[in-house]
Amino acid sequence: MKAALIGAGQIAKQHLACLKELEGVEVGAVCDLSPATAAAAAERFGIPRWYTDHRAMLEAERPDVVHVTTPPSSHFPLATAALGAGAHVIVEKPASETMEQLRQMLRAAREAGRALVESHNYLFNVATRRILEEIDSGRAGNVVHVEAFIALDILGPSGFADPNLQHPALRMAGGAIADFLPHLASLAWRFVGAHRSAHPVWSRRARSPLPYDEFRAVVDAERGTASLAFSASAQPDAFWLRVYCERMQAATNLFETRLTFDRVLSGPRPLRPLRNGLREARDVRRASVGSLWRKLSGGPGSYDGLWEMLRGTYTALASGGEPPVGLREVEEVAELVEALKPREARS
């Protein structure tokens, strides 16, 4: 399959590094408004052509799949153009800035019979998949509640809180945190289903250009409840996912490799804490070595979910199957994101 990519900065490198590893995928061209950025990406990843105009690229290259890896405000026109050119689209999160734009994109995808995959990459991390295996096998029982908590220092002067130039994410309702809502929402959706109601709390704790730097929410969903959070002040950086099931609890840090399970065990009740503790110690020890190993391996690191998602998407598209992130999922996750936004900003 022939792929093309629009937006050659930051996250694009992860997409290109993954595509280089995929059999049967050829990246025909890359496009960026900055000629040097496009040319550097082409040079680095051995891509034959680069463009600064996405229309010219779509016209000349006729790609099967287009990756949209630009800042969120441009996702809608670029993804729409790519769908119009007959390509499947893989778009970075959030797929659009408003629900109305997303519905138009979904309509265009359905009418064209093309995939529109929003990057819900953390659903495909090794740890998330292992927890899902426990649940799907029936060993864990039903999910009761899921917690997702991102602790990430975004207050530094070189990123979202740059005092010299407004970061593109700050144009979104909720500011920088809005950039992370699709991660939180997609995890909630995957474990407890479509939401029925959501109760967000947005606040500002530190002095910075960010409109908000703290976020909490409680979500009532089809199959259980979720609590979602983002903190710019809680340290160290971590992405905690805790899943509470009827017979098992799992905890993982998605930025690393730590994954531990607590189970309802058979045998003498007083020994359960000891047995669970020993198992947890073993898992943490393995994960500590695993984290270092992962860093040294030169692989995707905490983007292993993105690589897995792209691998699954291309496999599905090549065989005419359903991609791992379907249109219904994209829509329902976006609806939850919409419900989580600050009240004054919901579209």
Partner: protein, 361 residues
Amino acid sequence: MRVLVTGANGFLGRHVVSALLARGHAVRAMVRPAASIDALGWPPSVEVFRADLRGGPLEAAFEGVGALVHLAAAVSGGEDAQFAATVGGTERLLSAMAASRTRRLVFCSSFSVYDWSRIDGTLDEDSPLQRAPDLYERDGYAIAKSWQERIVREAAARHGWDLVVLRPGWIWGREHGFLFGLGQRFGSVHLVFGPTTRLPLTHVENCASLFALCVDAPAASGRTYNVVDSDRIRIWRYLGDHLRRSQERGLRLPLPYRLGLTVARVAQATSRWIFDGKGKLPGVLVPCRFEARFKPLRFPTRTERELGWTPPLSYEECLERTYGPPAVAAAPPALTESERPADPPMTTPERAGVPGRAAAS
């Protein structure tokens, strides 16, 4: 001549501003919107233009400008952020220059653009530059500076600009006494790979004086120069002077350069073997990065022969400027009469600290 200086409040930039003023030029200093410039002590004649190269209009910065001294580059942050700021910012700056009447550009490149692995014995202006694919083994700074020089040269050729490329060696000065080419620091222990290795030192005030000279030196047009005061100072001495004068506590542990490079090569080979060619190592264990920091070379320059430039300050004077009591204001090196620019300064100065017209935000 009115000279536009980007990165004007940076470590080198503030001294370039002083050196330009000393040569009688009018200076328009471009600084970022949130930059604090009060402590720089610029005279009211310095026109401050506030803008971020990554966004906002830049065309007005070139009004009435005879030459651009482009120093701005990101020196920290991730690889992508450095590329976006250094290369993306330069693209926008060059577009604005192309729409102006400014034709002279003095560009600050770096020793990091050289392919140190392919250079033996002597590194000079004709030494090979780092190219793909090996370029992408280097750190984010080297990648960004290589691409920055590349697009500056392309733009200059396309628009027929009068380009001078200056590649400073290791720039040192007050609060910048420790250099990454001195060794690997572990707490207070300094592993010195090759204690007798010569350093391509340029003190920030000496370096700035050459930038100021190149703004209107006819002989510099179209030329590329490495900026090195002299390569007579070796790592062991410099690090000793630094530790003593800065009163930092530290132990120097001398190690053969070849031993360090061999360890890096073995580490890389092992990593590639284990991880099927894809392993990732700390920078000091990547051989090409190790060589770019520590390789023992000579660093001759042609600035004296072609431009008649010799560093105004001796090493001992530079030590005093770096570690001695701070001067009241950054005193630029004195000029001889023959060094003064022929053109009288032409400017309608605004007060320092007043935001520039277009990009004030």
